[in-house]
Symmetry: C2
Subunit: 598 residues, 2 copies
């Protein structure tokens, strides 16, 4: 099956749902123009559809392999990666002073969307490098920048994040990897890391590992973790490659999906000779990690968007092609395409609206990121920063949960064929499943939302966003079209329910944190449903104007109809979630696990 | 990981949720007693835990293989199957006059539950034979019964259902397989069937294929389909095996999961020599098929229950074992088991209550089946029949959708380890995925519910059940315990919402069938949520009495707490679904698929 980067929908969501226009207005990107965005999206589409997408099925069947200590990627990956670098895709949104193109991160997020739609296994490798570059930009010494930055910005070298150890997954305080000063400013690193994405591969000459480890005198807990930079090959003063470092992939995990992405067990210093340098301050490694991780969290949310898009396109194509049964009310005659069956359309409309809602959330998050980092005035930066932080866990968790829903519906649309690997629908479900887990499980995201994000500012950012949703709802309710009024009513219901949950959580914070933790997951779902509907509603309003003006009414009317579908199915669901949020700690009161054993 | 058949919970649900006591009371099973049920469940548990469960992981890694035209099952399957036959498990609920043990089908359903928990790939083979036996009991000639029935009742031979063809999946009217009279009372069958579960295997000496095909002069459509019996090996008059029939597995599908279950492409009559006999009347094959299929639909629902149970047990064990982080509010000290984290308990409680709710629905469905077939008085039989028919699509679709939710949560509880195949959690998700598809996709089930089931009796059976839910809710609201009152309130909300949807659908029927089809899937979900809560609430009431009497309060209190959890999460969800049901045909109004292409 072919994949087509949904350029028109991406542009629609950028402009009419996610507020991309604010970037032009802000003056932060003087060279940005509508034409430039069009040109970039078009080139992006050509590259992703033509070069990356054809690798997707092969990446599943002929995934990464560890052979004689070397990781071999799927045939075609290396050549495609070369084109990715040559096309300048890696450097799109990095600062010009670092060798980048200085474009908005939002466009890089659109690229991540398209790349993941084309081939999630390929795309994830590029995302990791982006995170590593951000950490280096944030914390590196002049020397480290000189040796590593440019090659990573261009993508000539890739980066990795080495956090997890067998006993330190979500709880990084348990990290045991050691780093001992050699005496010459370098450190000898020793320890094993697991789940290292693209920890080794054959696509580039060098790989730059960012490794969390403890100095000999480091305090216990997360306050004793430092970050180190340990390249696969040492880099000489002149930038040429030196000796092989003692950092090796010793095992590849056999995963449910994402076979094209090598998930490595990495051994650092098995021979006592892994040498690295400190990145940032001693014992302040988590700070860098969060720089890297926050960017990565948004990117993982966007992975969800991309894989959902691919699953949707495949299901839509199948539904147009596969003939079974007759249209409702028709008793005889030829079989019709299953797209004509209401229940099949229901699945496809669900897939489409959930994909677009998560796309809108992630793009809005990216716009907030850009404004937070680049807007000329401080007030805008500050407000945008609060929005960026609030949206990040929602982008990550809601989009990836929904990607799982969408990919599963994609299998269902195919009927029995969906369960056969040859069809390809199952791959998307198997691939999508990891996104709800890595870069902080979705449960961790929910705790981040009700914890640091909600309580950090006493609910200010959340309440501001809810007030915006409320205003949008009131505006829609005053519209002249019945469908917009209906959407407005549903949105109002969701906004009110979300406000109720939010206030309950803020109140509960004062009493018992367990109340808050118990409500975290349904709250994040409610927030995502509501805010996704908000952005779609914003788009529906713009679509109504465009349709009224006679611009491609079939297209714009479909945006309104799909938003209404979303409103009746997911904004209504949001309303009910207040009950689950406010059930409180009692709802998950501890039951003896022995009793739970039946 | 070991599996433990949840005997106590099964018994609890039989007795206190699903109304198993009605079978004893009915007088239909004079030998039935509590002690007998205990003894059967205990033996069942020993067999499933000790013999079948250890095969599960091997069935995934070393699935069925087609070698030189012969299907080889997972090592160990053949021996385990022998024990299944020798233990008399196959014949449990078949009538005594057919060589069975004459026990309630409800106990066979409990067996299906346990077998699927132990190993879904193994269990599905036995289910197919049950369906084939039912079709033979319903329609076979004396001669067919004499030659085939006993061996199939004992399980010495297995049965298959051959319905699907490449162009005839959900739409059986498109079946093209032919059967031509030979002149001696037999028929020459020719055609290809796909997705034939256990179409060939090495566990038994013979396999009895039931095949849908068309006679030469058959009318078009489903009114021209007949059923034929075509064994793998012909059977001589004395019961001994004769020549090999021309019915062969020519390909095994490579599936997302359920690797241990051979999914065959079957070629009938490739050499023009597949000989079979007519089973039932000419052109009335669909009638037999529905006998077979209705039983199979309940069994597939129960598959969902079983695989959900297995996923739950694995996740619970992991959550007790895996240590990460500290308990809420605790800043230092040793890491605790992740079971201590509220969000992890939320996942486990979701898994447990969804599994038990679907178990209760399926068991209640089985009780209705037994009463419908065996109750001495006609009124009971008739009422039970209506209930059985109403519950069947819900058992099938809701239980399997929820099994997917549960299996996915099971992966999530494991964090990163859940995505690694070695852990085993991913297998359950891959296995569970098919259950929502086969034996009529869940969309087909939803259409059956709003079509034949709801409209068939003008909503009488549905309204009666809703009235029962309403009464139960009112009773709970009058209870002396706050938690029961709370459950009662939530149940009332769900009952009212379900009634509203039901009346809307019945009204919509009069106008436009598209309205009804558009609301089918959310209606089935709403119905399942509500009726699952009803049965759990019934159990909670009994648990309150038991706890009050001082019987194992930890166990019985947990039943109440989990029902309350279900009420706050899933009965509330049911309330919101009315909006999705009643959005009507407009919600899924056709959008040009080209526009949907973005």
């Amino acid at each position: 099956m072919t994949f087509k980067t949904p350029i028109r929908d991406m542009r629609f969501i950028l402009d009419h749902a996610a507020g991309f226009g604010a970037l032009e207005k802000s003056g932060a990107f003087p060279e940005l123009s509508g034409d430039l965005v069009d040109a970039i999206l078009e080139e992006m589409g050509k590259f992703c559809d033509g070069v990356i997408a054809p690798l997707n099925e092969e990446s599943d069947r002929n995934g990464a392999k560890l052979e004689n200590g070397v990781v071999r990627t799927t045939p075609g990956f290396k050549e495609a990666y070369k084109q990715y670098v040559e096309g300048g895709w890696s450097s799109l949104a990095f600062p010009e002073e670092a060798g980048g193109q200085g474009l908005p991160a939002t466009l890089a997020v659109a690229l991540v969307d398209a790349l993941n739609g084309a081939c999630m296994s390929f795309a994830i490798g590029t995302t990791l490098t982006t995170g590593a570059v951000k950490a280096i930009l944030h914390a590196a010494t002049e020397e480290q920048r000189r040796l590593y930055l440019e090659k990573m910005v261009t993508g000539e070298w890739t980066g990795t994040m080495n956090l997890t150890e067998p006993s330190a997954g979500s709880d990084l305080s348990a990290i045991r990897t050691k780093a001992e000063p050699v005496g010459d400013g370098t450190y000898r690193i020793s320890g094993q890391k697991i789940f290292i994405t693209y920890g080794d591969h054959d696509m580039t000459e060098n790989i730059v590992h960012l490794v969390l480890a403890r100095l000999p005198d480091a305090p216990e807990g997360t306050g004793g973790i430092s970050m180190f930079l340990a390249p696969k090959f040492h880099v000489n003063e002149d930038g040429s490659l030196g000796a092989r470092n003692d950092a090796h992939c010793i095992k590849l995990e056999e995963k449910m999906g994402l076979h094209g992405s090598p998930t490595c067990v990495m051994a650092f210093g098995d021979k006592g000779e892994c040498i690295g340098t400190l990145l940032g301050e001693e014992n302040k490694g988590l700070r860098n990690m969060f720089v890297m991780m926050n960017a990565a969290r948004l990117d993982v949310g966007v992975q969800g968007v991309g894989v959902a898009e691919r699953a949707y396109q495949r299901a839509l194509a199948y539904a147009q092609d596969r003939k079974q049964g007759r249209a409702p009310g028709v008793k005889s005659g030829d079989m019709v395409a299953i797209y004509e069956h209401p229940d099949v359309r229901r699945m496809l409309y669900s897939m489409k609206t959930l994909t677009d809602a998560s796309r809108a959330i992630c793009y809005a998050n990216a716009v907030a990121y850009d404004l937070a980092h680049s807007a000329p005035d401080e007030k805008t930066r500050k407000e945008a920063k609060a929005m960026e932080e609030l949206l990040t866990p929602i982008s990550k968790a809601w989009s990836t949960d929904r990607a799982n829903d969408v990919a599963s519906l994609g299998v269902q649309v195919h009927g029995g064929m969906g369960y056969i690997e040859e069809t390809g629908a199952a791959q998307h479900l198997r691939d999508a499943r990891i996104a709800a887990i890595y870069e902080g499980t979705n449960g961790i995201q929910a705790m981040d939302l009700v914890g640091r994000k909600l309580q950090g500012d006493g609910g200010a950012a959340a309440k501001k966003l809810i007030a915006d949703i409320h205003s949008e709802a009131m505006m829609l309710k005053a519209a002249k079209r019945d469908d917009l009024v209906h959407i407005g009513e549903r949105l109002l219901g969701a906004a009110d329910a979300l406000l109720q949950s939010t206030e309950w959580l803020l109140e509960a914070t004062k009493k018992d944190q367990t109340h808050v933790l118990a409500g975290a997951t349904p709250y994040l779902k409610q927030f995502g449903n509501a805010v996704g509907g908000y952005y779609l509603a914003h788009g529906a309003k713009a679509a109504a104007i465009a349709a009224h003006e006679g611009q491609d009414p079939a297209y714009y009317e479909s945006k309104i109809a799909l938003t209404k579908f979303y409103a009746d199915n997911y904004l209504t669901e949001a309303v009910a979630l207040t009950d689950a949020v406010t059930a409180g700690a009692e709802a998950i009161a501890r039951i003896d696990p022995e009793v739970m054993n039946g």
